[in-house]
Every structure is written in structure tokens, then in C-alpha cells.
Amino acid sequence: MISAPGKSTQLFLVGWLRWRLFVNGLRTATGKLNLAVHIIMGAGIGLGIVGLGVLLGLGSWYAIRYGKPPLLSGELWLVFLVWLLFPLVISGFGAEADPVSLLRFPLRYSTFVFLAFAHGVFDPVAAACLYWLAAMLLGISVASLRALSWAIPAFAVLALLNLLLNRAIYAWLSRWMAQRRTREILGAAGILLAISGQFISPLANRYGQRALPWVTRLASGVRVLPPGMAAATITFGCAGTAGKAGAEFAGLLAYCGGVGWLLAIRLRAEYRGENLSETRRPSAEARAPVRAGWNVTGVSPTVAALFEKDLRYLFRNTMAYLTLLTPALIILALSVGRRGSPHPKITGFMLGSSTYFPMGVAYVLLTVVGLAYNSLAYDGPGLAMLFAAPVRFRDVMAAKNLLHSMVLAAEVIIVFVLVQFVGGPTPLVVVGLTLAGALWALLMNLTAGNLVSLYYPRKLKFGQMRRQRASGMAVVATLGVQVLVGGLGAGLYLVSRWAGNMAWCGIGFLGLAGITWVAYRRVLNLVTGTAWKRREALLAELSRPD
């Protein structure tokens, strides 16, 4: 009977596997390009990391030399937060690959645990943080050798704690994110958290003074968290109060033990073969009669059915509709700041309130038209059904364009109402010019977007943020059209203003919209033939399994 290979053999094999995956990934032009981009970006980021390390080293020297414990604590907090949060931000809100996939082999538990840690140690962020801690140790050693004797164990335990905590967070997040619904909810929470960041400044302006005592109380509580305890260990040690330093150090060790225990629960469960299947437990559902589809006035039954399907898809895609809600929420945030501020400010510029509406509409437009440049992204395998059915692709794109136009219209109305609340009534001429300009910009973007969607599609996954970007060409095309629209629009506006007749601007926008409408119709008529010719490429990209 064959026995399981030794730990070193298993580790060697896993290392070999990773290496082969990396090398084989370079077979395609995209893989090589990605490597080049990583090297170039890595060099730039590396310089920043080295520079920050020098600053942190100088800072620790200064903190110990001149007795500034808060500075040392602040630096440790920085390292702590970067180590924990940066990998999360980079990987986004998706399920994380881990050594669980290797469990079908006779993998020893110790090897499994080691691999889980290796994932964390060989992470670039962890390497950067270890370098920063080393730089800080160097600074401390120059300032005081006595401080160094406390700094070495404190930093070692803090590094170990970070490693354990990082792995524990990943292990528990993987547990939660194995379920599609939880993944979507956490993703949505992430987006809301990012949006809520916009409210900090306006709320601080408005309620800052009243919140100050609470903030101070919170800051004193932070002292008993690991970075604060590590800094206190060194500070007390340096001051010769070994008892207090020892107590702080014991606290750090206790944190390590607690987090290690939480991690062990997860790793043991994973090793035992915990099933994290996506399949939901079948539940009894009440039988309900099938409802007839929607009847959308003014469009063909096919377009109506497609529109209904796309709208349902939009509302079931938490990420997409939250992204669409972002402009309205940000304008709401600005309105909070505006009401608390004596000056009519938007993003630091002094602007008249008549510009609020055009600016809001421009922002909304940029968000909504992004969808039009990759409009088949979420159709997935269902796209094959559209090719199998007797449907003209013209209708498919028309339905998507109708949806995007209606979403834009709804958002423009929300922005209009909010802007009236923030800056008072918008002059009628501004409303008219803005709507004319938006109509032209929308048609330009839909025309270009329909072609880009067929020529440079990119499949996107529901409820995920990680690596969910349109193709590079789609990004370039989006940017190009915005530059063209912005340039022509600004030119028309300035000429009309110089001539002292803003009606010219409105007529110009409507004229351009008319010309673009003709182009839009022509492109829409071409879409069926183009999609038919490109069906193979479209199905290969958009119907590929996850």
C-alpha cells in the first residue's frame, strides 16, 4: 500500500503547481501583457513602499528619541490597517481561492495549515508591511537599545497577529461568501460603505463640534487594540516600567491566542471537508399562477419582453443598481454639506447654483452610459437563447437602449428634485439646455455603445465587484465619446455665450441630437447583421461558464 507523501514533497508539489499555472498563464498575449503591466505597476508601487518605509523608520526614531508615543502608535495603526484592509480591497467581494481545492489529495493537516499561512506570508501587502516593521525597528534601534529589546518581541507578535487575523478574516469571509446571496449582500454593504464615505465631510462640517467628545472617547478605546498595545509595550519598556510593558505584551499575546483559536475552528472545519455548496435548501413555495408578461406601450411585443427581462435583471443585480443609485446619493451628500455650509460649494469650487443641475446630469450620464458599452455583459448563457430564437438583434439592443434611457430619465428627475432642494429653482433656460445636451450625449453614447457591446464584449458576474470591468477597448471608446461630447458641447456653449444668444446653444444641441439620431438608427439597423456575423465570438465570451 502506498503511504501519503511527506510534508516537504507535498509543499514542493504545490509550489511546482503554482509555478506551472503562472508559466502556462503566459502563453497568451493577454497573460504576457498582464505580467508587463504588473511589473511596471509593481516598480512604481515598490518605490512608494520603500519611501514610506524610510519615513516610518524616521518617525519611530523621532517618537522614541523625543518621547512621542502617539506617533509610534499611529505608525503601527497604519501598518496594521494596510495589512488587513488592503488585501480585502484588492480582492473585492468575491469568493477567494484557497488550499481547500487540494483536499482531495492525501494532504496532511499541518501542510494544509502551512499552505493557508503561505497564502498570507507571500502576499505582496504582507511583504510590504513586514518591510515597514523592519524599517521601524531600525529607527527604534538607533534611538534606544532598551526600546529595541521590547520592540523586537512586540513587533514579532504584532506581525504574527496580523498574519493570523488576515487569514482568519479570509477564512470566515470565504465561509460567508460561499453563498451567493450573502456575497451579494456583503458586496452591497461594501458599496454602501464606500458611498457613505462621501457623507463624512459634510456631516463633520455640520455636526463636528457636537461629535468631538464622542470621537475623543472612541480614540481612548482604540488604545487597548493591538497596535496601541504594541506601542505601549515599547513606550513602557523604554520608560523602565517593565511590569506595565509586560502586561501590555501579555495583552498582545492574548489577542494572538484568541484570533488563532478562531482561525483554527475554520481551518479544522475546512480540512474535515465542510461543504460550502451554493445550492440552497429546497423550500416549499406556494403555487402561483403564471402572470402574462408586460405590455410596454409604443414598442413591439419582442422589445417589450426583452425590456421586461432586462429590467428584472437590473433589479436583481445589487451591484448594478447600487452603482446607478450612487449619483443621486452623492448629490444628497453634497446637499447635506451645502445646508450646513455658509457658501454654495461643490467639490471645493465656488459655483453658482444654476450649474448644479447640469453638473448633476453630467454625473448621472457618465454612470448610466457605462452600462451601454457592455450591454450584453450579464446575459450569460441566455445569450445563446437569443441567437436560437427568431429575434432580430436590433430588437435586443433597442430594448437595452430603452432601459438605459429610462433609467437615465428617472435619475435626471431625481437629480432635478434634489437640486431644487439644494440650490433653489434652476433657471428654465439652464434646464432646457441641459436636457437638450443630455439627449444628444445619450444618443452618441448609445450609438457607440451598441457597436462596442458587439465588438468588445466582456462577461460580468452578478453580485461581484472583483475583476468586474469592461474590456479595455470599451473603456477607451467610452472615454473617447465623452471627450468628443464634452469638447463639442463646451465649444458650442462658449460660442453661444460669446455671441450673447444661448438659444444657439440649445438649437445646436438639438441639431446634433437630430444628426446623431439618424446615425443611431443606421447603427441599429446594422446590429442584426453584425451580431449574426459575430455570434461565435459573442457566445464564446459571454456564454462561457464561470
Partner: protein
């Protein structure tokens, strides 16, 4: 003369250097239950994709119910139903939503689409999962739903790529019942499958493709008698034996593995 449901002439498909399908001339008469067989990588899925308009042939002509697919794709698609390899489901819709959507895509009015969707949900046993999204369905449920969507408009020709793959006996029974009803009302069914017992039980005619070339075509009895004549042992052969003899599965002796005794 019998009407041809599917007819291909000199059908070819290249992928770079690889010639996946070479000069395939298929003839499927209307009303036949037709099995399209072949080993893995023989060109079955490539052929069915071309027949349903999902893949452009490199050369050759496809006629479905007398209509040229290249010249009249919409006309052809109105007459056919397809369950492709990946099932082609919009998995963020519920079952009823998907069926009514499919019905309307094939030109049914809203009310008829809803009525037929209800009937199909009852028939396939999916009527008690009307709120779940398709993404949460089991594989067998997805297959039944894809089949229901393919027949909602009453197609004259039904193309099925591996309809019984990964399906349990109960779901397979439902699918077979649905297919037999289609045949009873005069439809033509063209399916690929690796499960030769099912093909033998359901299909009246088969074609076998091997390394991109059509190597046999006809009724199962014709193929059986042809192969048996060559073998000259008088024994009634199963479809699996016919298949293995035609694609040469028996020629190469199965090598021994030195560590398996």
C-alpha cells in the same frame, strides 16, 4: 417524396488547423426521432451548433424544412426549438418568467405564452418552484425548464444537445414523455447523446460521426443488419455494439495497466 426536416450538403467547419466537421451530408426526414452519435470530440456539438445557427459553417449548406438557414435564419428559427449544450437559460429569472419570455421571443402573445408556461410548469413538475430564481434550480430542473422553453412555441423540429446528461431517472422519464408527445404530434427530434441505451429506445434513425466525418446513417435496423452482415454471426446487436464496431472501438485492444491487477 418524403419531406426532409434537416438536410446538409458538404457541411464543413474548421477551427484554425483543425477540421472539426468535414463534408457532412445529413438527411433527416420529417417525423423521425433521430439520434446523432459519436465519440467525444467527434464533432456532434459543432454540427448541432451549425444546424441551429449558433455557429457559422466554413463551407456547405443547411436546409431546415426546406428553408436555407443562411438566407432565412429568422424563418428557420421560428420553426425549430433548441436545447443547446449550456442550456441557454437566463438564470436570474424565475422559471415562469423565463418560459413566458421564451414564448414571447418565439412570437406568442402575452396571454398564450403565460397559459402554455403554466401547462409546461405543471407537466415538468416545476409548478411549485415559481418564486425561485433559475440559478437556484438543480441541474435536472434546469434541463426540464430548458426543454419546456424549447417546445413552448410548438416547433416542428427540436434540436437537443445531450438532453439526458446529468439527469436522474425521474427527470429523464419526464423528458422522454415530453419528447414522445412531440413525435406523436408529427415533430422531428434531432438529439445527441452518449447514453446509447436511451437512443436505442427512443430513436428510429441514427447517424454516427467520427473524427468530423459522417461514417453511418440510417435506421437502427438498417445499421444493425449492415454490421451483422459483415460480422456474419446472426446475433442481434445492441446499438452500443453497432457503435463500437462502426467507430472502431473494438479494433484497439484495451491496454493493461501494470499496477492494476
Amino acid at each position: 417524396m418524403t419531406e426532409l426536416a434537416v438536410e446538409t450538403t458538404g457541411l464543413c467547419r474548421r477551427f484554425g488547423e483543425l477540421e472539426a466537421v468535414r463534408n457532412v451530408n445529413l438527411r433527416v426526414e420529417a417525423g423521425q426521432f433521430f439520434g446523432f452519435l459519436g465519440p467525444n470530440g467527434a464533432g456532434k456539438s459543432t454540427t448541432i451548433k451549425m444546424l441551429t445557427g449558433m455557429l457559422e459553417p466554413t463551407a456547405g449548406q443547411i436546409r431546415i424544412l426546406g428553408l436555407d438557414l443562411a438566407n432565412d435564419p429568422i424563418g428557420v428559427k421560428s420553426q425549430i426549438g433548441v436545447v443547446p449544450e449550456g442550456l441557454a437559460l437566463f438564470d436570474r429569472l424565475t422559471g415562469p418568467e423565463y418560459l413566458t419570455f421564451a414564448g414571447r421571443m418565439y412570437g406568442l402573445d402575452r396571454v398564450t405564452a403565460a397559459e402554455r408556461a403554466q401547462e409546461l410548469l405543471d407537466f415538468t413538475g416545476l409548478a411549485d418552484r415559481t418564486k425561485s430564481l433559475i440559478v437556484d434550480y438543480s441541474h435536472g430542473m434546469k434541463k426540464k425548464l430548458a426543454m419546456a422553453a424549447a417546445v413552448i412555441h410548438g416547433p416542428k423540429v427540436l434540436f437537443l444537445d445531450e438532453p439526458f446528461e446529468g439527469v436522474d431517472a425521474i427527470a429523464a422519464g419526464t423528458l422522454k414523455a415530453m419528447l414522445n408527445r412531440m413525435i406523436a404530434r408529427g415533430a422531428t427530434i434531432f438529439l445527441t447523446s452518449h447514453v446509447l441505451e436511451i437512443v436505442e429506445r427512443l430513436c428510429s434513425h441514427v447517424a454516427i460521426i467520427d473524427r468530423g466525418e459522417l461514417v453511418a446513417q440510417g435506421s437502427i435496423d438498417d445499421l444493425r443488419s449492415g454490421v451483422a452482415a459483415r460480422q456474419d454471426d446472426g446475433q442481434k446487436l445492441s446499438l452500443e455494439q453497432i457503435f463500437l464496431k462502426i467507430v472502431g472501438g473494438e479494433r484497439a485492444a484495451v491496454p493493461e495497466l501494470s499496477w492494476l491487477e
